[in-house]
Symmetry: C2
Subunit: 307 residues, 2 copies
């Protein structure tokens, strides 16, 4: 029950030898997710020893090349490796046509189930849910249709306070699930026993929000409030605030302002423009607003344990 994020690529625009476009690998509550898939992602997965077999769900924020040009190669490689287990792709409308056209023309249709979940809603929605994790879109403000993603551990059951429960012989084992789910108990005499009197709070849940690419956009604040970790793009510094505005990107200070207003616990910067040679400038600028900020870099891992 921890959250572990590995940064594969965290630079904007074009891949270079030591600056890879967006891609991250997230482990949360024993579920594994690949987030964005720039050119070269499969090579970085190998380099950082992330097993391909762990990947079953891939989330693509938007259809700018630095966020998805590595997807067709990864899908093909899964095929060459004789993968059998299914892959789910969550991405903007159009992705299925792009991928299937290429598989068709190469006559290399993959043998594993390749399932597309195309996104086109402008409202936040739940797009994945199992017993451990739920994933929501975070609609962002960019030049084309773009979503961030909120990865949220499922609400855990309350723990039973057996000592208190035993004071009420009317409560039977078959009632326990209702108590774990937070329900009060009504005694035969009509008196109500409040749930919090007979249960303990569940362990805290962990949440990770990925927001890239986006202009400064306060609409996301209610969606990402209090998350344990926020990755927010910071393509530019304040010296290029106009350029950030016209290209619908954010400055490091703007990312930090969103982090502060959302009361997140930690901010991770990334998607740096290659015009800046010293990435510490991003950190310094952000920390004037939000001190618990860190820089992304290839191979960095962040692990967060529940409070």
């Amino acid at each position: 029950m921890s959250l572990k994020l590995t940064i594969l690529g965290c630079h904007s625009a074009t891949p270079r030898t030591f600056a890879h476009p967006s891609s991250q690998f997230l482990e949360i509550n024993n579920r594994f997710f690949l987030i964005d898939c720039g050119e070269g992602t499969q090579t970085l997965l190998r380099k950082h020893k992330i097993k391909f077999s762990k990947i079953k769900h891939i989330f693509i924020s938007h259809l700018h090349g630095d966020h998805y040009f590595g997807l067709i190669g990864l899908i093909s490689t899964f095929g060459l490796l004789n993968r059998q287990t299914e892959i789910h792709i969550f991405a903007p409308k159009g992705i299925e046509k792009i991928i299937t056209l290429q598989l068709k023309l190469s006559k290399s249709w993959v043998k594993y189930p390749l399932i597309f979940h195309e996104l086109d809603s402008k409202k936040s929605e739940s797009i994945f849910e199992d017993d451990k994790v739920e994933v929501f879109t975070i609609p962002l403000k960019h030049r084309i249709y773009t979503n961030g993603f909120l990865f949220k551990e499922k609400t855990k059951e309350r723990n039973l306070n057996i000592m208190e429960i035993n004071k009420y012989p009317e409560i039977e084992i078959c009632d326990y699930q209702n108590l774990k789910n937070g329900k009060d108990f009504t005694l035969k005499n009509g008196k109500i026993v409040k749930n919090e009197k007979i249960t303990f709070d569940p362990p805290s849940i962990l949440q990770y929000a990925y927001c890239s690419d986006t202009a400064y956009f306060e609409n996301i604040i209610p969606l990402i409030e209090n998350v344990d970790l926020l990755y927010h793009e910071s393509t530019f510094l304040e010296d290029k605030k106009d350029l950030a505005k016209s290209t619908k990107h954010s400055t490091a200070k703007e990312a930090a302002t969103i982090a502060q207003k959302s009361k997140v616990k930690k901010l991770l910067l990334g998607h740096y423009s290659s015009r800046y040679k010293d990435e510490n400038l991003f950190l310094k600028e952000a920390q004037t607003v939000f001190s618990n900020t860190e820089l992304s870099y290839e191979g960095k891992t962040i692990e967060i344990l529940p409070a």
Copy 2:
């Protein structure tokens, strides 16, 4: 007037940290050509300091991903770099749809002219010609429609033998171009002066043949006879001859046999399967048949001067 080939990637199937899929950069008679464009090619171009501005013509052998998945990224990067000069793409039918679909969905149409020359002929044809170089397809035998490419310096003009010419006062300066083009000269008395008597042979022309991917295929021999350099795929060794046959690839020995029968001057092997850890085994096997064989590796350059 030399031929210089730089190997960017020369491995088959999936990209790895130190094994990149097919891509080569050719300089011939002051013309520059990119041949195949596997994932990561743009990063390798930067690494080996090949200027993007030199690339105007890109040749794609076939639509298996390890030969073209890097193309959309390169095209996009050209756009981000504000390229103005045109790019010509020579590739199997389908490439235009693949590229334009992705540019359209990203709303990132490039501002430079992007010109597609889609190939679907099963016969060798001239697909590019200027005053310096001509390029022909070499139809290959693979699982999908595939061409190799023959890059051939243009036939050069014959050199005038002025001392001999001066013996015939009837030959005037305005006749020289005909002589350079190889024509005989007819004197007023009806007597013919043979061209070879009054001109010298032109400098020899250089030819490079790229043949990947292909099964052993003797039909290509007349097309590549006597070339200065032949790159012929050698995905397997003879120990996997059956696999080579079923996947329509070649063994190192088969590549060498083609080189020998075509009387090429030098053979370059590549497109190695990752199952072989020691690439010297390819060299050894080929050299049992054709001694002037070399191995491709990332960053290797071969320069050939005219005889």
